[in-house]
Symmetry: C2
Subunit: 460 residues, 2 copies
Amino acid sequence: MKVDAIEIYQAVEKFIGQEVVLEGWVRNHRKQKEFGFIDFNDGTYFSTMQIVYDNMLKEFEEIQKIRVGSSVRVHGTLVESPKENQPFEIRASHIELLGDSPEDYPIQPKRHSREFLREQAYLRPRTNLFGAVFRVRSVAAMAIHEYFQSHHYVYVHTPLITTADCEGSDQMFKITTLDLNHLPMKDGQVDLSKDLFGKQAYVTGTGQLHGEAFAMAYKRIYTFGPTFRTENSNTKTHANEFWMIEPEIAFCDLNGLMDVEEEMLKFVVQYVLDHCPTEIDFLDQFVEKGLKEKLQKLVASTFTRISHHDVVTILKEADVAWEFTPDYGEDIAKEHERYITEYFNGPVFITDWPKDIKAWYMKVNEDGKTVAAVDLEVPGAGELMGGSQREEDYDKLLARSKEMGVDFSTVDWYCNLRRYGGCYHSGFGMGFERLLIYLTGVDNIRDVIPFPRTPKSCDY
Amino acid sequence: MKVDAIEIYQAVEKFIGQEVVLEGWVRNHRKQKEFGFIDFNDGTYFSTMQIVYDNMLKEFEEIQKIRVGSSVRVHGTLVESPKENQPFEIRASHIELLGDSPEDYPIQPKRHSREFLREQAYLRPRTNLFGAVFRVRSVAAMAIHEYFQSHHYVYVHTPLITTADCEGSDQMFKITTLDLNHLPMKDGQVDLSKDLFGKQAYVTGTGQLHGEAFAMAYKRIYTFGPTFRTENSNTKTHANEFWMIEPEIAFCDLNGLMDVEEEMLKFVVQYVLDHCPTEIDFLDQFVEKGLKEKLQKLVASTFTRISHHDVVTILKEADVAWEFTPDYGEDIAKEHERYITEYFNGPVFITDWPKDIKAWYMKVNEDGKTVAAVDLEVPGAGELMGGSQREEDYDKLLARSKEMGVDFSTVDWYCNLRRYGGCYHSGFGMGFERLLIYLTGVDNIRDVIPFPRTPKSCDY
């Protein structure tokens, strides 16, 4: 009977004494004169299982030649293990080599540096670390879909190709079908009317504006897709391609938005704890000591809600020699974020930010100085989500778009949403990789993206 | 108590006699002298509900001025309806106008042409037709995730930005951060070393190659994300941006692959029938007569499996004046697809295609002439999925890549998967929009994509 490792791990008792056929890969192979042990993994479960074989098998000598990395088919019987730390082992009756692996196979059973493994991006999911990270990525993605779908949100695939200039075109990749070495010219400029879309098109960094249009039809929507930034920045937190979740909710004010953010985050964290216990234990042990406790604590915590003004007051009164002086009119720095989450010993929603440092579509508060924006600061993660109530007043939005230098001709339809049954509404964005860094303890964005794209680095 | 329409529809009995507060939009408004009726929809449920108000309300005159498209807050009591075709109505005690809508609001309660609505892409989800289509889209997406996650597949976010030339670079959009009007030059050519990635990068049309790398770690993976084609083609089935699902499965041959395709498709169709009954009924009534029966029939059917060779024999023997003569060495035409699904009265897997018309990475059969490829033909949908067993032999793959003119330097890592514990494995691709056309009966791809991108058309 062909089975997957996960089927066995989900019901070990049932399989004890059963004959099974397994197909997978050799993670390690320890040979002795009369018998041998293979650490076997078929990818469906994090832990390897031990295959025991001995020289009673007629292909004993063949088996002993099987190298790390090879794919094999194992016929054997599941037996209780004499060892304490493994629930069972497989006593092999027959082992077939399916695909060989050379002596110089890059992924050997030893600790490789993450830098080395980044250069082997197509092989690294076979390691414990990346095996865990990318399964958590998959499970966390499912958690996000489950949360929103079960709360009656409609999943919207907003377009990636856009001609709208709403974020500032210098932050977007241009796309073209033209031959860069033979560009059609007209009046001394590139003749973009010859391009596929007849004008300059970009790949976008947000689905928010399109998402709002759908929220005005379905009340609750979310997006979950790739986004792009051209930032020429080589840090642990920047990549040029990453995934974002952007919910938009009609008839929802800033407090309602914070309720959703808090509930959603707790749901996703609990879901990962429930569905990836082995992976989280491994990451807790080898990547971030205390990871599991950190995640459990988040689920049990109540998130603080406090205005930017009051945060700055706390920062000013703190007995700390700040590198950046806190200021009521300014953004807060990383050192401030850290302080404030420690101060409240948990996640903090910071609300009502100075309008000049926030986006044009955010609702201006009655004071005329701040906007109904909220950033969620999480201990050990920094800013995990950013959201706002959106300006619902057409005239005010128009005025703000002019003040902030937005090209109105590309967002007229968006502003029109306020003329056609507009309503108070809110939304937020969460960078998926930032969530994964928090969930896994891995601190470099390059290590939570299957094939990361960063400046001068676009391999595979 | 603030409630969503869907909460009421899921438990009407519970709400009868209850006071509720609803926020949503006016789809229609019929006024009479002493009372009025509002067709109300808050987007969480397909059907509108009827709000009844009379001139006992002190704001009666104000209410009568409320126009179609406006957003309102309704306070009222749920009562059993005197009308047969509605389970309940809301007797209003208070109605507040939240957001006005002008007389010339484009979406009036009448039948609009799909062409007109395409020009109002940001408003069309508010209509019955697109309200249904895009909810089906969301639910079908969730069905796909549920199927694969519950069968232990890992969801992989393969990169969209790529420098690999595996599909032929002329089919991909180039992306750049360079200023097209001031390109840096070197030796008479554009100096791409100055671009963000230091070389020509593209947005890709497939995640298959990267997916295979992950299948060699997790056994079963799937991708689900946007893809791009530069095709300059204005047909009902072409768009330049669309979504694809690409599962890859290690230790799986062509028969195993067909099992997965059949099971997955039936699961998704049943899931949509279960979760969108009202939408499917509407689409059945107004878009494709017999849609529901078609979908139910698919779930109950057994898919035929037959080789390309045998299909061509059937076509040749058919008493039909073909526009395109069937040929053992050629692709089959749309008229052939239709004939063969009618011939077998159900979905048909066509296997073992002539190798010259298929991709370089497909496994060549023992006859040396055909490849282990399979297309799934579905009545009323045409080719819904295309897949193959992948060539697992390094030398054969190399030879095929040369024969087919693939730039090996960009796919060396992919070929290496065969050297490092390679195994027999298979995968398929399904265009998500093609599935949606089948599920909704809507026949133009522009009408199943929220904001479609087609040649010379990239609005919103």
